[in-house]
């Protein structure tokens, strides 16, 4: 039984479709993250769930009721905006109380619920202040508080952390995760930051150009990306891609060739049944953190370009022959000079293959 369901929803602006038929469902209490590059329709989709954007086609169901044409306020959802959208002329208390006043809540009850939300978010001492007297992090808390007081069925977050600095962002990310654990409410969170997606989500929906590319848990997406887009989007630094040509195809196994490979060819087991024939082009994917330096059984032979030492780990950039620059993440600080030849190894299960359409094989 799904709590939130999108049934083939479409959003058209004239000729252009921002969302082109998205179907998806979330369970009660689940934390779902919509992720994708800017312009992929993730915010539009969220606003369609909220009721702030008209739905051109399809249906939205919340708690098994069709709410496609229901007013935002009657959907029992609360939204935290990227810009916080606090009412600048009202005190923090009034900002939190506004929604309760709209549904004619008794004054005692308003005080109790605002106090409760303020306690959870540790903003009790800010209640008399105006939004302009708050720091970015405090405003963010108030914006979340405004969502909490109304006891909504569904929380919607529209890139809530993108206006904060890096440190505060990490801190608020943890707090949002804790809040989800404490409230146990269904949350839908939109971000373009894949780290936020990986750390917060029970399930991630990867979107591109108004279409769902893949839905899955963070580890599913990381381990088994459906296509080259998801593979490149999830994981940081980004997955390395090497274009190659198929020289031999057997059931569940391919031999591919590219000058970058040690020995010129590489034999890889495929994860799925495939239709690839010799002569087809494929893309080989390898995550930077799966690559090993100074391997006894090297798979790749690369020329070192430069290294970045990050303290505990290092990022090494190296050039393969016939492929774009590759990134290697290794622990420690290996001494690497420019133009060193690096024998790079990787465990066979960490090699990804994508066909000429970009689909995982």
């Amino acid at each position: 039984m799904s709590f939130l369901r999108l049934d083939n929803v479409v959003k058209r602006y004239g000729e252009h479709s921002a969302v082109q038929g998205v179907s998806f469902s979330a369970e009660k209490g689940e934390f779902v993250v919509f992720v994708g590059p800017s312009g992929c329709g993730k915010s539009t989709l969220l606003r369609m769930i909220a009721g702030l954007e008209e739905i051109s086609d399809g249906d939205v169901l919340i708690d098994e009721k069709i709410v496609t044409h229901v007013e935002p306020a009657r959907r029992e959802v609360a939204m935290v905006f990227q810009s916080y959208a606090l009412y600048p002329h009202m005190s923090v208390f009034e900002n939190l109380a506004f929604g309760l006043r709209m549904v004619k809540t008794k004054e005692d009850e308003i005080k109790r619920r605002v106090a409760e939300a303020a306690r959870i978010l540790q903003i009790e001492m800010l209640l008399e202040r105006k939004p302009r007297q708050l720091s970015g992090g405090q405003r963010q808390r108030v914006a979340i508080g405004r969502a909490i007081v109304r006891n909504p069925k569904l929380f919607l977050f529209d890139e809530p952390l993108s206006n904060l600095d890096a440190e505060l962002r990490t801190q608020m990310r943890v707090e949002i995760a804790k809040l989800h654990r404490a409230l146990g409410v269904t949350m839908v969170y939109v971000t373009h930051d894949q780290i936020e997606a990986m750390t917060l989500a029970d399930r991630i929906v990867v979107l591109r150009a108004g279409l769902v590319e893949q839905v899955g848990t963070p580890t599913e997406l990381y381990d088994n990306p459906a296509n080259i887009f998801v593979a490149g989007f999830i994981g940081s630094p980004k997955m390395n891609f090497i274009p190659a040509v198929v020289t031999g195809a057997a059931d569940r196994q391919l031999t591919v060739s590219c000058p970058a490979f040690a020995g010129g060819t590489l034999t890889v087991a495929t994860k799925r049944q495939h239709q690839v024939k010799p002569g087809d082009t494929v893309t080989v994917g390898m995550r930077p953190e799966h690559l090993e330096l100074q391997s006894a059984t090297p798979v790749l032979s690369l020329k070192a370009d430069f290294a970045e030492y990050l303290g505990g780990a290092s990022q090494i950039y190296a050039l393969p022959e016939g492929a774009p620059m590759m990134t290697i993440v290794v622990p420690g600080r290996p001494a690497i000079a420019r133009n060193d030849t690096l024998p790079i190894g990787i465990a066979p299960q960490h090699i990804y293959l994508f066909d000429s359409q970009g689909l995982g094989i």
Partner: protein
Amino acid sequence: MMSMTLRRILHGLGLLIVLCFTLFPFYWMVSSSFKDQTDLLASPPVWFFTPTLSNYTDIFADEKVSGAIVNSLVVATLTTALSVILGAPAAYALARFNFRGKSDLWFWFISNRMISPIVLALPVYVLALQLKLLDTHLVLILIYLTFNLPIVVWICTDQFRSIPIELEQAARLDGADQFTIFRKIYVPLGLPGIAVSAIFSFIFSWNELLYALVLTRRNVQTAPVIATSFMSGYELPWGKIMATGTVIVLPVTIFALLVSKHMVRGLTMGATK
């Protein structure tokens, strides 16, 4: 370096000339209101004289003048109130809703201000005559509304557009209906714009002479009409005219000086984001 200083001096000089040009009539009105008839009619004009308050005592003794000031107050206040009550919601609609003919409506509001008032004076007079509205407060209020509404709509639309749309969306999610959003979000946040447009409405209605002259007789003559009514065929009591003019202009001048900071802000609103 030299040319910079020279440019500054010339700039200052230019400003001074413009200032003299605009302020001299005002100075002449105020100073004349303190002259007696001999000084007023002296040729060449006298610059130094013994001031007298007799013109002021004369006009305040005249019931017509105090009555006219009351009329002006009634007309200007009601016009301003109506302009804001009708104009601000219209501005909200223009700022935030999309509807058919929106840009035409917007242009229509602006183009209302492009017409020279004198062009409409005769048709309006005939209309008022037919409707038996001549010499009533109502006819002045109605005609002033047509001039003031565009100003209110214009300034307020700009002001409302500068309010982030997320605030409205947040309020909608909080359960506020359209009117509540307007009342609780747009009016308080758009107050500087609303105030400025109200000030403009008031000043315009207070100063207006042409229509007041054409559409009123005895009962609802406004202050500017009374000031000119002293000019009869046989005498020109300049002292009384100037004193009445000063009494009319002074309150709005003080008012405008007090709020000038907000006025500039209101006028440039939306120009920079």
